[in-house]
């Protein structure tokens, strides 16, 4: 079963615009992670935000976490054609076995950035 669900499923924007995608999850978490996947490739880790953090930045990426609403958002500012990819949120799956590092991934948001 999926813990995280991304919204929207697909997003099409022009270069220079901001892209925002959201992730909702169902149960308490230790942390939430965002990954990017270029077409036909493996996933690449972007950013991790812990449950006691509300906002985190990395370059053009900004992630927020609202544990009361069980939701997170990923903002990509000043998007580029190279940002075209699928973006996935992932949460640690089981609080009782948190030392094992299992993650549950959502279905992803497909982002297309046109020049």
């Amino acid at each position: 079963s999926q813990q995280g669900e991304e919204d929207p499923q697909a997003l099409s924007i022009q270069e220079g615009e901001n892209a925002t995608m959201n992730c909702s999850y169902k149960t308490s978490i230790n942390n939430l992670q965002w990954y990017r996947q270029n077409s036909g490739r493996g996933l690449v880790h972007l950013i991790l935000i812990r449950s006691n953090e509300r906002e985190k930045h990395s370059g053009r990426l900004r992630v927020t976490l609202d544990t009361s609403k069980k939701s997170s958002s990923l903002l990509i500012t000043a998007s580029r054609a190279a940002d075209t990819a699928s973006y996935f949120c992932a949460t640690d799956a089981d609080m009782t076995t948190d030392s094992w590092g299992k993650l549950q991934f959502g279905a992803g948001t497909q982002v297309v950035v046109t020049p």
């Binding site: 996935f88 030392s99 991934f105």
Partner: protein, 113 residues
């Protein structure tokens, strides 16, 4: 840099064949994972291993088995391939613990005919 490699990028097998997918990581990670990815379903965990010879079922273990004889190598086995196992298979590794990122291999696109 962490490197996770998978034995094949593309694989075509016939129904009923035994299929081996291999994954090797070079960063001494304790955890290794096998996922399958299908359109609209995201990544689903098949099996993971947190130590040599240790394994735990994921969400969809049916029809699969795994082997981890050495820390750096994690194999996924399809005992008798079926057409519904046509998918993208992704291997990942991580340090043990909840706050570590997973490092992914490039994936194996398996087609079963």
């Amino acid at each position: 840099d962490v490197k996770v490699t998978q034995s094949s990028r593309y694989l075509v097998k016939r129904t009923g064949e035994k299929v081996f997918l291999e994954c090797v990581q070079d960063m001494d990670h304790e955890n290794m994972f096998w996922y399958r990815q299908d359109p609209g379903l995201g990544l689903r965990l098949i099996y993971f291993s947190y130590d040599v010879k240790m394994k735990e079922k994921g969400d969809i273990p049916e029809g699969y088995s795994v082997s981890r004889e050495k820390k750096e190598r994690f194999s996924l086995i399809l005992e008798s391939a079926s057409t519904n196992q046509t998918s993208m298979y992704l291997c990942a590794s991580s340090l043990r613990g909840a706050t570590y990122e997973q490092y992914f291999g490039p994936g194996t696109r398996l087609t079963v005919t």
